[in-house]
Each structure stands twice: as structure tokens, then as C-alpha cells.
């Protein structure tokens, strides 16, 4: 049976849609998605002697993520150095997420409960850092906390400390930096969630003799939970893949996964190992994204 006119126009329309989307998809395939597949392939090749790879299949890249072979007695051991870096990355990312949530929630609440005009202004103020160069913001926080920075100078002058605090090149510095840099990522989804919260529910809660703590725990938190999940994941993901902040504030020694990946692609290093860790990072991020999408969908359903 010949297609009806309507069916044919729909099909033409769909073909037109694909043609219109094609240039964007082509650029993304060549310079974003395709290269990721190459990384996957590289993770299964043999490391070359001076960096790069040899085109021979090998699972060495993947096994060396977790275990190393002792050069003397050829026994397998857990790759302690790698585990330390993974653990530091996960730990710092989790703490950062927790801290940004702790200060981000009151901030988002504050913005969402302002008068409409003031609300727009406060929101704009939180958005500016969000779009501002991450490198510049890391520089800025570094100048405050470094040995001869404003914080130490101030504390010394006030006589609170007698020798400058060594903050840079410690995990604390990386933590301060990441909280500072990623806080807007927490506040924005929280704000979106709180902003659609029906404040009359609070009145109802207080009318029923709930205390403030009870209202917060039993009314507010359950209803803005999707925003909390979304914000937490939006902070956790870039933390886990952070590169600039740990490089500047952690120095060369306190690496996170991102810096470790870079290291493996240097001269004479293990490219397949670097490729395998990249893919691993991608998998973790994808899992986190699935939860993110669920949280967002939950939010839209409730609304």
C-alpha cells in the first residue's frame, strides 16, 4: 500500500531533521565521541617502550590498574599507589559534596525566599562565578590561602598564629579549592528545587505545632530531595575528574585521578593504563549520571 500523504510528509520532515542535525553530530563524532572509542581500544593494547602503544592485544593496561607485578619475584600485588590516588579522589569528592551541600542548602533557601527582584539579583550573583573561568577562581583562592597570602598575613597581624599556616600543597587546600570552585553547581539545582516548593506547606506544618527542626526534616527535606540528589551529583562528577584544582593547590605530589591520567600519557609512561583509568572514570561518571537523570525525572513528576 502506498504511504498516505501525511505519512510521507512526516517522513520528509524526519529526514530534514536528520540533515539539519548532521553537521553538529559530525563535529561531535570526530572531536568528542569517536576519540573516546579510540581510548577504549588503546586500553587493550600493549604499552610501547617509550610511551605510546604497540598494536598488540593485551589486558595489561586493565590489570595494572589494580595489581602490579613485583620486578624481583614476579608475584602480583595490589597496586597500592593507584589505590591511594583512587581513594583520595573519592574521599575528597565525597567531602566536597557534603560541604557544598551543607553551606549550599541555606544559600539556595535564602535566594529562593527573597522578593522576586532581589531573588533575580542574588541568583545572578551566584551564576557569575559559575560561568567564570575555573582557572582564575583557583588562582584567586590560592592567593588567599598560600603562605604569604591574605589569610596568613591577616592571622599573623591579629596575633592568632605566630607562624604562617602551610595550607597549599595539602589535601585541605584541594578541598577548600574544590568547595570554592564547585559550590555554584550545588546551589543552582537546589535553588530550582526550593523555588518550586509550596511555602504554604510550612504554614500548615507550623499550624500543626511542628517545631522548625521538624518542619525542616519532615516537610522541606523530603520535598527538595530531588534537588539535593541532583546538586550532589553535579558536584561529585567534576570533583572526581578534577584536574586544574588539584594540580594548582595540591602541587605535583597530591594527585587525583585526573592528574594521574595525565601522568600516564607523558613520555615513557603507560598509555594503556592511562586509557583504562580514563574509561573507568567514564563508567563511574555514567553511573552517577543515571542517578542524576532519575532525580530530575522524579522532580518533574512531582511538580
Amino acid at each position: 500500500m502506498a504511504p498516505t500523504l501525511e505519512e510521507r510528509t512526516t517522513r520528509d520532515q524526519i529526514r530534514r531533521n536528520w540533515w539539519l542535525s548532521l553537521p553538529a553530530l559530525a563535529i561531535l563524532t570526530v572531536a568528542a565521541i569517536g576519540p573516546l572509542l579510540v581510548v577504549l581500544v588503546y586500553s587493550f593494547l600493549t604499552p610501547g617502550e617509550y610511551g605510546n602503544v604497540e598494536w598488540k592485544f593485551s589486558t595489561e593496561g586493565w590489570t595494572s590498574v589494580f595489581v602490579t607485578k613485583d620486578i624481583f619475584d614476579e608475584t602480583w600485588k595490589l597496586a597500592d599507589a593507584h589505590m591511594t590516588i583512587f581513594w583520595r579522589s573519592v574521599k575528597l569528592s565525597l567531602i566536597t559534596t557534603g560541604l557544598t551541600l551543607l553551606v549550599g542548602f541555606p544559600t539556595a533557601w535564602f535566594i529562593a525566599t527573597r522578593e522576586p527582584r532581589a531573588k533575580a539579583l542574588w541568583l545572578f550573583l551566584i551564576t557569575i562565578p559559575f560561568w567564570t573561568n575555573l582557572l582564575i577562581r583557583t588562582f584567586a583562592i590560592n592567593q588567599i590561602i598560600r603562605t604569604e597570602g591574605l589569610l596568613n598575613t591577616g592571622l599573623l597581624k591579629l596575633g592568632i598564629i605566630s607562624t604562617p599556616l602551610q595550607i597549599t600543597y595539602t589535601d585541605t587546600a584541594v578541598l577548600i579549592g574544590m568547595v570554592y570552585v564547585y559550590l555554584p553547581l550545588m546551589v543552582l539545582p537546589l535553588f530550582a528545587s526550593i523555588d518550586r516548593f509550596d511555602m504554604r506547606l510550612l504554614e500548615a506544618g507550623y499550624d500543626l505545632y511542628a517545631s522548625r527542626a521538624q518542619v525542616l526534616r519532615r516537610v522541606i527535606l523530603p520535598l527538595v530531595k530531588p534537588g539535593i540528589v541532583a546538586g550532589s551529583i553535579l558536584v561529585f562528577i567534576p570533583c572526581l575528574g578534577a584536574y586544574v584544582t588539584p594540580r594548582i593547590l595540591g602541587g605535583g605530589k597530591l594527585m587525583m585521578i585526573g592528574n594521574f591520567i595525565e601522568l600516564q600519557f607523558g613520555q615513557g609512561r603507560n598509555w594503556p593504563l592511562g586509557a583504562a583509568i580514563s574509561i573507568l572514570l567514564l563508567i563511574i561518571v555514567s553511573i552517577a549520571l543515571v542517578f542524576y537523570v532519575r532525580a530530575i525525572n522524579g522532580e518533574n513528576r512531582d511538580a
Binding site: N17, A32, T107, I128, P129, T153
Partner: protein, 267 residues
Amino acid sequence: MRERAFSVTNLPGFATIAVAVFVLLYLPIVTLVVYSFNAGSSPSVWQGFSLHWYALAWANDQVKDAGIVSLIVAGFAATISTVVATMAALGTTRQKAFRGQTLIYVMINQPLMVPEIVTAVALLIVFAVVRQWTGYSGLGYLILAHSAFCIPFAYLPIRARLESMDLTLETAAADLYASRWQAFRRVTLPLLAPAIAAGAMLAFVISLDDVVITEFVKAPGQDTLPTYMLGQLRRAMNPDVNAISTILLGVTLVLLSLFYLMTRKRD
């Protein structure tokens, strides 16, 4: 003493924390800007106002070259990504959902989801091979990489605008025997123009600010301002980096303000 009115939306301590957050959020940036005008080189002792560091940055050929590379790459990347994003937005909005639409969304938003460091090493690998094959080592690689990750940023405001646009105007144009192209050229495009400009500005800002992907893709001598600044960090902190940061901040701020003016809903 009269008791303050009980406000249901008020939670104890929240306002204090929020104001502290805003102060702490802006204090480092403001300090950086202020000390870029410092006469001395100390990051914490004020020694008088001076444009010394700006003059120094201006006289530095490396900075000038990096600035030019930044502008070329951001200019091309913003243009390319905005054109293809506009086309893609026209192809994916204002119609019945079709098979493959989700795939297109996922592909377009892919750069927002993948950690930058992973994309960066992926491009490092691929472009190294292409460089060897073709012998070409110009700015094309940077422009291509930037165009790709700018696409979602250009796409989002354009798509948002298209979705809120009134279809009846185009139907009216079609009723008046306008061809599809005429209707697009004379009706859709003028209505869409602010969103396209907004998308382009966002793409420009994103490209101008990129550090990680640029750091891995650039060939020697192709530093952009951010990668130049990152390189300077290996040495002692220079206040001329503050000056460059302040200029970059200024550019970002101006473009963002324009972006907000253009995407503001008129009530």
C-alpha cells in the same frame, strides 16, 4: 520590646550562612582584581595603585600571542558551533518526537557529561596520529576541539527560545504563500536572532575559558591565555597573571551581562 513577626520561610542561621557564602565567594575574586593594580609584587601587602602589571603583560610578546590565539580559536569555535547548533535546534524542536531524537540529544549534550580530562587525552591520542599522517599542525585541531565542546552551550538557549516561540506566525507566513525558506528567513530567523547571539556569546566564553582540553591538544607555540597562565604557575606567582585574569574576567562579565539581557523574558 515588640516581638518580630514570625516568618514561616525564615530558618534560623540560614541568612547568615548565605551572606557569608556570598562574601567568601566574591572575596578571592575581588582580591585578585584589586591586587592586579598593586604597585608592588606582594599578594597581600598594598603598595599603591599602579597599572604596572598591565603594562608588563601588554609588553610581553608571549601574552600577546596567547591572546591572539585565544581570540582566533574562540571566534571560529563560537561561529562554527553556533551555526551547527542552530541547525540542530531547528531539526529537533517544535514537532512530534521522532525516532532517534533522544540519540541526537545525548550526542549534543555529550561534552557536558564526559570529564574534560578524558576528552583531553582522547583528543591527544587521535590528533597525534592525524598530525603524523597529514603533517598539518595548525590551529585547526584546537578550533575543531573547541567547536565540539561549545555545541551544547550554543544549542541550549537557541532550543529554549524555539520551544517558547509562537508557531502561528510561521503558519500565517505559509498561508500568505511564503516559501519555506522565505518563512524561515523573514519570520523565524529574526525572532530567533537574540537567542542565536546569546548562544554564540556563551560558546565564546566557554571557549575562551577552556584550560584542560586546550592544554592537551595545543602544539608548541599555540598557548591560549589560560594555558599560558597555567604554565606560569610552575614559576613563582606573577602579578601579571592577575592582570591577565582581570582582563579575562572583564570580558566574561560583559558577555554574560549581554547574554542575560538577551535571554531575559519580557513580561
